[in-house]
Symmetry: D3
Subunit: 189 residues, 6 copies
């Protein structure tokens, strides 16, 4: 583990965490082989931690027409537009794994218009970027474009929800100066 | 009640809601005299509803050095920058009530630099706007400016958290085309 | 009356004003029940005052296909984009009264795309915003879109003229730190 | 005279103009040797014409600490930022003549930071550009900077007024597609 | 010659230059009657000088469907968007001469949409501006628009190459504070 | 090798290249183990190829106070701001190797303010970003800030030159849709 600080704020010891949070952290550690820093940085506030991950799971673990890789594409594309180091690097790793594609994360982060993805996925990311940057301009015509690519209204809510949630996450990561774990950089390459 | 749709998505009947959500909605109705549309629009998705309001309460109902009126100022200023009709109008009403000041909400929405607020509150809103628009530029110097106005690091987390959370909320309100209740326009004037 | 200053510059006493300006101010006071601050703030310079209000009347009191409420919509939408507190609040009041609609001013100020207005009025405001923000991009195609909504070329001049005039007014209000009268906040609600 | 149209709107014959407007146009023709197109294009509307030129004269012909060349610098710098062909070319000509300097107009139009002007004039143009682009950010500190360069508050009003007036003029010239007279291109070179 | 410095960096004496650079400079002097400052300012670094002018000639002196005047239009339009005094003034002069048109350079610099040029040339400049400002958004559809105006793919490379090269040149001119020679202001008028 | 096209334009066979270009390409292949696509894509035009790489070498292979890793940092940071997939991925690889640091390239690309680099390097990248985005605002004060970090004027020219050159390169890569070689993604990790 790097000796750089992972947050501008105090980071709790795992043993000092409330039981439910500690359990979630340890489960994650078991699964990934390490504790992603977002768990430790946000554990600074227990109530917000619980709400954050409940929201995260509601959007990222739910069923629907978006694949798990597609959900991660939304995170990666919008997080680079928000210059969020943690989210691009951590979710880039997850995207590589979910998509079983070692190239797609960097491509989507830098310029999704030139990534090896489908036209439907580009339309999805066009909308995500609009929601992230100019959500006030969303009109019925934007819904129609997505419907033309086979997205249902529930899918559109998913795209918007993931974009909006990670827009929040990007801002918290930027303000806390949340550091991505070194492990993420090479996962799935 | 206006006959305009309050969402682009299906809005559930209150009676059809899961018990815990129904309870929260009815409690709100009892308190406000009407059901703010955000409850009905977001009740379209139960899991996300629960996480959204848990997060909301963790940030807006907690103790700390920010007054309730100040928390609402953050919401109103950043929501107008995001052109979010629901949040400016609904939280403008709450701000007027919390601040016992019928003018401050419109002032803060349009240009907080000219609002009848303190220099400390302007510094708070400078930071909130930076987090909302350019969070990647936040550095230690920005923390120092806030500390110079008496804000603790926990207060800074609060400002950032409220800004980030309502940035998410603004995007969901814009995509769903969430309509503010007519009642909000005149509350606290 | 609030004890906040209404201008960064010296504000003349009404009795010290040139006769014609004094007459206009008193007539306004008679009509509105108070003197809108723009009259006092701009009376700092008599020549400019006369030209300003002559221009104002030529655009706002003239006949044509734009209703008086529509003219005010242009003012309110573009003034919020210019973050002009005086113009949004004062003309918001006039808009509510002209439109006999207590909601429309706040809606148009925050995001006219979601306001309770007609598609023709949205096209009018699309053009007004373009003139306000990017007038160099106006081409014949923009005229054609407006003509498609039934606007004549004279109407288009009106939209442009009102937008341009209040763009000037917004800048003067921002530089003078012109304060809206407290009365405006509740008129027409 | 070029055979390109000088406006998107009807341009009146000089002989058909109201007597006072005709007089002003002919006086201008006598002075300049030709009729600047702004007179003909705006004569499309008599009331607005009168108010426009009354305002213009109140700002540009008045006494004060700004030289006539400095007033033109403000017009040229802000008009290029607004991509207004008529104003840059016509007022560029006037600036060359007023400043007795054949280079300064092009320099100020393209990048006033590199023009052969004084630090005081650069501060004046910094403020004019701020008023033109971001007038909502003007605060007391901006006034102090200008005072530090010897500008009085009346001078600051002049800078703001000229900027705001020509911002209006730029928008009208862009919407009407007002064409600069060929004569302007070489005057004062 | 003006006594203003022509660069923030040391400018070599012509006699001290390497033979090949000296030859090029003197040939230019012979042709133009003076040495354009870009030759002296960039001669500060011999290797870069040689590469710069080799690149310049490869793009500007080559055959193809773009006329020499059209190549200069690209330079003038994009250089004003980059606020590059040297390039607008020097290449404005060349454009006037190449196009045998004393008006077109100022028109294209300020707002090419209103210049006396063909629709094909406007499409060329639309693309050049996109490459200059937002090259990441270029897609196959942009190529198709240009093909619809009769441009070949080689022409499109030329437009992009000239835009990209002068984007580099603009940045070097801005950082070195490269001064246009006084002679350029009146050439071709 | 991936079967995706590496350019929107025709890509020459290596054997068909002029001898000097073929030599350079083969030398590169020998050194890297593969031919970076920029060589093949730009070989579409021999003259421009030669000038491009001469310029590249003059800036990147020269002596000076900037280390080779620092030169690559400039490329990576500004190329992500320009959304240039080829340059971020290819030069990211070179940066990891030059800096002997597997993390720094992704950090610098996404947000150099949070990268594991020195304050002096952050000042260097602040300036590079200013040259890339707003070169018209560069003034003597920016030079002074860099001098305060120990940079000489020649170093400043280097920073500006590298930024400007790769700004050109980014635009050509975006227009040609230049594809990064798969090999780059994992080099130096």
């Amino acid at each position: 583990m790097s000796d750089h600080p992972i947050s501008r704020f105090l980071v709790p010891e795992i043993d000092s965490l409330p039981e439910d949070i500690k359990e979630r952290v340890l489960a994650m550690q078991e699964k990934a082989g390490f504790v992603p820093n977002v768990f430790l940085v946000l554990a600074h506030r227990s109530e917000e931690f619980r709400a954050f991950f409940a929201y995260h799971d509601a959007l990222m673990e739910k069923d629907g027409n978006l694949t798990k890789a597609e959900r991660e594409m939304i995170v990666v594309a919008t997080s680079n537009a928000n210059s969020c180091q943690y989210c691009v690097i951590a979710h880039g790793a997850v995207l590589r794994i979910r998509a079983k594609n070692p190239l797609v994360a960097d491509q989507v982060a830098i310029n999704y218009l030139k990534a090896d993805i489908t036209p439907r996925q580009k339309a999805m990311l066009d909308f995500a970027m609009q929601v992230s940057m100019d959500s006030e301009t969303v009109t019925e015509e934007d819904f129609d474009i997505l419907r033309g690519h086979g997205f249902t209204d529930e899918d559109i809510w998913d795209i918007a929800g993931i974009t909006a949630f990670f827009g929040m996450s990007n801002r918290m990561a930027n303000v806390t100066s949340m550091r991505p774990n070194d492990e993420f950089y090479t996962m799935g390459r």
